[in-house]
């Protein structure tokens, strides 16, 4: 059996896992903020402003949820 493709795939997975999984939320926050801002405005300037505000809001909200879960870990 040729194991090279399997090894290559395992290496790829290992490379992906060197990036902390939580960072994978960042591209999503960027994409969601831009799309949300773009559905509220027509020009690029206001879209960027709205996107920035949305990104801050979403990050804060997720940060609060993360903090609650983190604190919940101390409860038990």
């Amino acid at each position: 059996m040729n194991l090279l493709p399997l090894i290559a795939q395992i290496q790829l997975i290992a490379e992906i896992q060197t990036v902390p999984r939580m960072y994978y939320i960042l591209p999503l926050i960027v994409a969601v903020s831009f799309v949300y801002g773009a559905t509220r405005h027509e020009r690029l300037g206001p879209i960027l402003g709205h996107s920035l505000r949305t990104a801050i809001w979403v990050t804060t909200f997720l940060g609060i949820i993360l903090a609650l879960i983190w604190l919940g870990g101390y409860w038990n």
């Binding site: 059996m1 493709p5 591209p27 999503l28 799309v35 773009a38 509220r40 027509e42 206001p46």
Partner: protein
């Protein structure tokens, strides 16, 4: 802020749509024709004119390919923004999930509800339907990623693990199950048994979930883009609701 909703060359239609003298069905009947050209004056955007052309075609194009509806309306910047954000999210998710996280299945053990969200991305998610049709009645999928020995293979009292075969040309295996790009897991999916879906999760770990999440979010974002292609920025909807009232 002031807003005007106009049909091209027919300002009277605005008065009709504003609801002063016509009933709901009449308004609905004229809605499509009225919402072709939108103008508004906003504190942040300044005076804006949005030409929606045929907004039903724009919405259809926006569904088929994120951003295409806006290109049709000549709203290139927004179309490009939607295309990059939505398709980028979708394809990154698909790559993270090794091409397996977007598939259509209505089987009792594997009801893939996530595909209803993923399908909102349009054409990029359509190969999943082709694959679902191909594997129906135990057929082989197109675009085979790898093959595995059959499920439920028992040796004595032990359940033998699936064996992954990445080069089927060298390994002639009869009756192997095939993983296809965007194809449902081959064989039955039963929670109490070893199955192909379980192998996917074992091989990709929680990247399967993260990839699924990315692709679902991409589909839901495209719903917003479709709405924008059909009706313009949300700010119009708020003012139109006020006019209706």
């Amino acid at each position: 802020m002031t807003i005007r909703t106009l049909a091209r060359g027919s300002p009277d239609r605005f008065r009709l749509f504003s609801g002063s003298s016509c009933s709901g069905p009449q308004v609905a009947g004229h809605l499509h024709e009225i919402m072709t050209l939108l103008r508004y004056d906003h504190s942040e955007d300044g005076e804006i004119t949005v030409e929606l052309h045929d907004n039903r075609i724009a919405a259809l194009l926006a569904w088929l390919w994120p951003g295409a509806g806006h290109f049709y309306q000549r709203r290139f910047a927004k179309g490009f923004l939607f295309m990059v954000c939505i398709l980028g999210t979708f394809f990154v998710g698909l790559r993270i999930g090794s091409g397996r996280v977007v598939y259509a299945s209505l089987e009792s053990g594997d009801f893939r509800w996530q595909y209803f969200c993923q399908a909102a991305v349009g054409l990029p998610a359509m190969p999943a339907l082709i694959q679902a049709a191909a594997v129906k009645n135990d057929g082989d999928p197109f675009w085979v990623l790898c093959e595995r020995y059959p499920a439920k293979y028992r040796l004595g009292n032990e359940l033998v693990e699936f064996s992954r075969i990445d080069n089927p040309a060298q390994e002639k295996v009869r009756g192997a199950l095939k993983d296809g790009f965007m194809a449902p897991p081959a064989g039955p999916v039963l929670p109490e048994n070893n199955d192909v879906l379980g192998m996917w999760h074992a091989e990709t770990g929680n990247w399967f979930e993260i990839g699924t999440f990315y692709t679902v979010i991409a589909g839901l974002l495209n719903l917003l883009a479709i709405y924008d292609a059909f009706a313009g920025p949300v700010i119009f909807a708020k003012v139109q609701n006020r006019l209706d009232d």
